[in-house]
């Protein structure tokens, strides 16, 4: 199974392979999207060991629930992203995770911080900074809360002490700005 060659497939072929439970689909999915999904998960659950377990859980769920994906309703990545985000949020509010978090506060934090450094960041911090450079930070901040950290609009409104309508508008504006940038 050790295969260093990265596999990439067009979306429709990927979906067909996944739905027919072709193992090539999992290789391709992992190569194409594991980093993006891990980016989401590790922003919600910063502990690397836990985040890695959740990444595994996410791929298991993607494999097992392939029947439940309907291409007519949206892109494959959006579907996988929602699975990853939901798994991470479930973990965040679970009892055992809350207890671990408390323990880590008590323990020496140095080990934990060291462990975090093991992650090879995908030049991501740099990439994001470049990407959002020139965009209004208040727009990007709201989008990140909702898209990466899994806040609901209501929770984001409470956290930022802003009206719900403002949150919705900022998310939309942020996406419009990003769209211009990508084009």
């Amino acid at each position: 199974m050790t295969n260093n060659r990265k596999i990439s497939l067009p979306e429709d072929e990927l979906v067909n392979a996944l739905k027919s439970q072709n193992t090539i689909a999992m290789h391709a999915l992992y190569d194409m999207y594991s980093a993006a999904l891990f980016g989401i998960i590790s922003r919600i659950i910063p502990q690397i060991e836990v985040a890695e377990d959740l990444l595994q859980e996410t791929f298991i769920k993607i494999w097992n629930s392939a029947d439940g994906y309907d291409p007519a309703k949206g892109r494959l990545f959006t579907w996988m992203m929602n699975i990853a985000r939901n798994i991470a949020i479930d973990k965040l509010r679970s009892k055992d995770y809350r207890n671990t978090e408390k323990n880590q506060d008590i323990e020496n934090n140095v080990d934990f911080i060291d462990a975090q450094k093991e992650v090879t960041f995908n030049a991501d911090t740099l990439g994001i900074k470049e990407m959002v450079n020139g965009l209004k930070p208040e727009l990007i901040a709201v989008l990140d809360m909702v898209y990466f950290k899994g806040y609901t609009h209501v929770e984001a409104a409470e956290e930022l002490n802003l009206p719900l309508g403002t949150i919705k508008t900022r998310v939309r504006m942020a996406i419009i700005e990003l769209r211009k940038r990508f084009n």
């Binding site: 199974m1 050790t2 999992m26 290789h27 992992y30 190569d31 594991s34 980093a35 993006a36 891990f38 980016g39 922003r43 985040a51 890695e52 990444l55 595994q56 791929f59 298991i60 769920k61 494999w63 097992n64 629930s65 439940g68 007519a72 309703k73 949206g74 892109r75 990545f77 959006t78 579907w79 992203m81 929602n82 699975i83 985000r85 939901n86 949020i89 965040l92 509010r93 992650v119 090879t120 960041f121 991501d124 990439g127 994001i128 990407m131 909702v146 898209y147 990466f148 899994g150 609901t152 609009h153 209501v154 929770e155 919705k168 998310v171 939309r172 996406i175 990003l178 769209r179 990508f182």
Partner: protein, 285 residues
Amino acid sequence: MDEGRAYIETGILEQYVTGQLTARERYEVEAMAAKDPEVKQEITSIELTLEKYAMVAARNPREILKDEILHKILTKPLEAKSDKIMQKIEPAIIPLHDNVYEAKIRKLYIALAACVALLAITIIALLSTRGELGEAKNEIIALNLDKQKFATEASYLKENNTDLQEKNKIVSDPDWKTVKLAGTKMDPQANMIVYWHPAGRHVMVDNSKMQLPANDQDHQYQLWALVNGKPVDLGVFDVKADSTQILLKMKEIAGAQAFAVTLEKRGGNVGPTMDQMIVMGAVGI
């Protein structure tokens, strides 16, 4: 076109893609997208934008993880199949605090169900009580009718009894004279009895021993005493088939040789109409 544009402007599509909508709202968006290609196009465009953004923000997990994860998934097909049945996932919003709300909503549902059940029981009880109440009312009406009937009967019997006692006293008392009046040629079958107490001047007519034809509305029988050859009015009476009274008290008279009854106009006459005399009887010694 304008409708689709306005729909896009609401920002609901961004919420759809970022997983902010409830199942119902998602169906709405999906129906809209199926109907309007512009909406569908916009959703895909938002998805691609966020997909690229996620790619930029990606973090590589440790290299070793790939083999671990793929090995785990691809070597356990049986478990995978059973899992599949258990976990049909639907991407949905998962608010951090929804447990509390769910519990509250569940409690409210239970309370609501209890209220509905209580209401149903109350209504059933009320209906059955109403039915019983109606029956009870009917019974009361029936009992009331019975009571009235019995009261009437009782008062009738009481009256009868009083009359009978009095009559008994009269018959056994030597001071009372029993005068039998026999039918004249006007009606030979007719006869009746008059009780007379000369000392007390009382005169009674015995209804139970009366054998006179019933009088009509325009006429009444009039009782006369013959005192030294002259008729003295002792009052009028009716003869009815359903008469309840046994003894009729007539006007007083101290002395008389005979009694007679004539049929007169209603209310009586000053003097007897001789050819209408129906019965007559002399006082025995």
